[in-house]
Amino acid sequence: MASLAAGGGGVAAVAAFPGTILAANAPMSMPPHLVTGILVRASSASLLIHAAGFQPAQIEVALTPATEVCRRGCRAGPAASLQPGDRIETGTYTSGGGNRVANWVVANPLAGWGTVKSVVGNTVTISPPGGKTAPQRELRIEDFSQVALANGTVDKGSAAGLRVGDYIHFTGTGNDPNPLTNEVHTLVLHQIAR
């Protein structure tokens, strides 16, 4: 697990936390480093994102050749894989010209915890944590998926190190914006305990 989690716990420069993005009665602004919302349109140069409840409600985010775009895997470059209606989360910075520029973009993100119920080939089915009513996730371990095992090794594209009963955390993307979807294209899976 530690190999993928950032190492060290030192205290260095302190960055002010810009507050939550909690939707409130009064429209709030998105923090400068993050935009979440629904994709209105995508081009090779930018994304237009509708951020309901925020001011402004439509936010333009520029793309660069270095922008990491994740939708069933991640790659740098054009956002051709993105589709209008996708649920978008994007990490941004402000350019010298005052525009938002995307460091990374994730379409239809999914993340959570669970207990491994079965491992069939490269499909890992997990049950939601106790007390939580959540979809039974089917985690597809694909060529791009990283599986960080509790012993510190990282497997790429293989679920061979996982066992029924393991407690895991995952991130990934769905095929569509539905957050309750079962199928997850896994980006990173951490075996927390076994």
């Binding site: 205290v11 936390f17 990490g91 999914l110 939601p128 106790g130 007390g131 939580k132 991130t171 980006l187």
Partner: protein
Amino acid sequence: MSHGVAAIDDCAGTGACVVNCNTAPCNTSQPFCAWPTFQECPNEPDCLKQQLDGAAGCGSKIQFVGPSGCSGGSGTVPAATIFECGPDSGQIKTFYYCQNDGAQPVIACVNVNAFTTLCNGCNPYTWGMVEVTATPY
């Protein structure tokens, strides 16, 4: 000060981030946090009554600090609310209800906003987890 791991939860379905004992509503907009070494007061079954001198007690706040080696700097989330994780009435002390007498491997269920702050703008979905330190705030 505690060391642990922070991660995100998409809050799909009902319930809450498990490290909050499923007692708080799951909301991806709020940085829910738990603390691995929180100690429950003796003979006190109701988590809402917990208080600890000299440490973050029930409903108090902690500060999370990200790693110094992350993309050139660390981030700090100074005002994350901690939820006491002791079994409530009728709850069984299982792994999923935080065990106050043991360390949790995942100490924090933070939102994407907080995660990216902790790791200086990284992509939470390609990191998965980030190591943090937690101190009373």
